[in-house]
């Protein structure tokens, strides 16, 4: 099967995450031009170091969901020219719903939902001028099944999924489609340290008996960006090795 892409420029938010950095080289090798976001100077350096073999085949732009003006600035930098959006950006707020500081909750929701809505709006409008576009939101199995202390994280994942579904419903007729991917345990980021801590207990929950790699997630995202996958629209796909299906 050929991996055909009608667009080129892809904004990757949360660009310094392990999954984003696994995805970027695959995109470049497929002829796409990834623009990865960073939030700090150290993140920018980390990106430049990881992608040093691909100079001039990608770009970096500052974008921090905590600061709404950075979203507008990033789109100005992009000249509002965008074919794809892959959204990995996610902070975490862990804590019991009845015990977590209200101010922290408010800031968390503002960045992760209100400002994400602004990001999605900017992307959708940029894509509307081209009458085509594809958005992939990287959600989590926590959107469907959460552990104790994951209420805020799960709420944001569900809320963000709803926003992306809405765009897929409202704008598919104009050539813009969306899909959300819910990875389960991945050998990266927060999950990695959780797995290191809980080991076999985690693996016992996964029928495949192993966690997924960033490479596997990146391959699926790349497929979701292809022209062949646009029919997968306004929906969420679970990729968790069967974990959610296990009683």
């Amino acid at each position: 099967m050929s991996m055909r892409f009608t667009g080129s420029t892809c904004l990757i938010t949360g660009g310094t995450s392990d999954m984003a950095m696994a995805l970027a080289p695959k995109m470049i090798l497929s002829g796409l031009f990834p623009v990865l976001t960073f939030r700090s100077e150290s993140g920018q350096k980390k990106l430049a170091s990881r992608l040093r073999d691909f100079e001039e085949k990608y770009a970096m732009v500052h974008l921090d969901l905590d600061h709404v003006h950075s979203i507008h600035q990033a789109f100005e930098t992009l000249n509002h020219d965008l074919d794809y959006l892959v959204d990995f950006a996610q902070d975490n707020l862990e804590g019991l719903v009845a015990a977590t500081d209200s101010q922290r909750v408010q800031s968390f929701f503002e960045a992760s939902l209100s400002n994400r809505a602004i990001l999605i709006k900017a992307a959708a409008r940029a894509m509307l001028t081209k009458k085509k576009g594809r958005m992939v939101y990287v959600s989590s199995t926590a959107a469907g099944r959460q552990s104790r202390g994951q209420g805020f994280y799960a709420a944001v994942k569900n809320g963000a999924e709803s926003l992306y579904h809405a765009v897929g419903i409202e704008l598919a007729g104009k050539g813009i489609t969306t899909v959300c991917l819910r990875p389960g345990y991945v050998d990266a980021g927060r999950a990695k340290s959780f797995i290191e801590k809980h080991g076999q207990r985690v693996l016992d929950q996964i029928p495949m008996g192993r966690v997924l790699s960033c490479e596997e997630i990146a391959d699926v995202i790349l497929f979701l960006l292809t022209d062949s996958a646009v029919g997968i629209n306004a929906t969420s796909i679970i990729m968790d090795g069967g974990m959610s299906a296990l009683k």
């Binding site: 509002h80 409008r125 509307l128 001028t129 409202e170 704008l171 007729g173 104009k174």
Partner: protein
């Protein structure tokens, strides 16, 4: 409409609306209502805003451009207030004459006309130049 700038803006808007709503450009005048005459829907307004932003390179506030909050603003105005000057203060791209016209037209349906879009773009272009 005699000013060449306004004629240019009108021609551009006419072209955008013609393409967007699949209507004959010759049928569009500054007095054409977007909803009542052209049957524009919310998705059309979104595309229109994006096209105007792209074509004229000016900032577009969808709510202002499409006079979305006008009725609510009028409803919430105190009886004692000079309605026309309050309205032109809130919607500075519309003239007192146009506001007067709008107030007498509210009951007939959605009031947005092509000439309101022209006024908004002309005003935003001036604001941009001044900045």
């Amino acid at each position: 409409m005699e000013e060449p700038e306004l004629v240019d803006i009108f021609n551009e808007i006419k072209q955008i609306l013609g393409e967007l709503l699949d209507v004959d450009e010759a049928e569009i005048t500054p007095e054409t209502y977007l909803v009542r005459d052209l049957c524009a829907e919310s998705i059309d307004f979104l595309e229109l805003a994006v096209s105007l932003n792209s074509r004229f390179a000016v900032e577009i506030n969808d709510d202002d451009l499409f006079l979305r909050n006008l009725r609510r603003y009028i409803r919430n105005m105190p009886d004692t207030q000079d309605r026309i000057s309050a309205l032109t203060g809130r919607f500075p791209f519309l003239s007192a004459k146009r506001m007067d016209e709008i107030l007498s037209d509210l009951d007939a349906g959605p009031i947005l006309k092509v000439k309101d879009l022209i006024a908004y773009i002309e005003w935003q272009t001036r604001v941009k130049k001044a900045a």
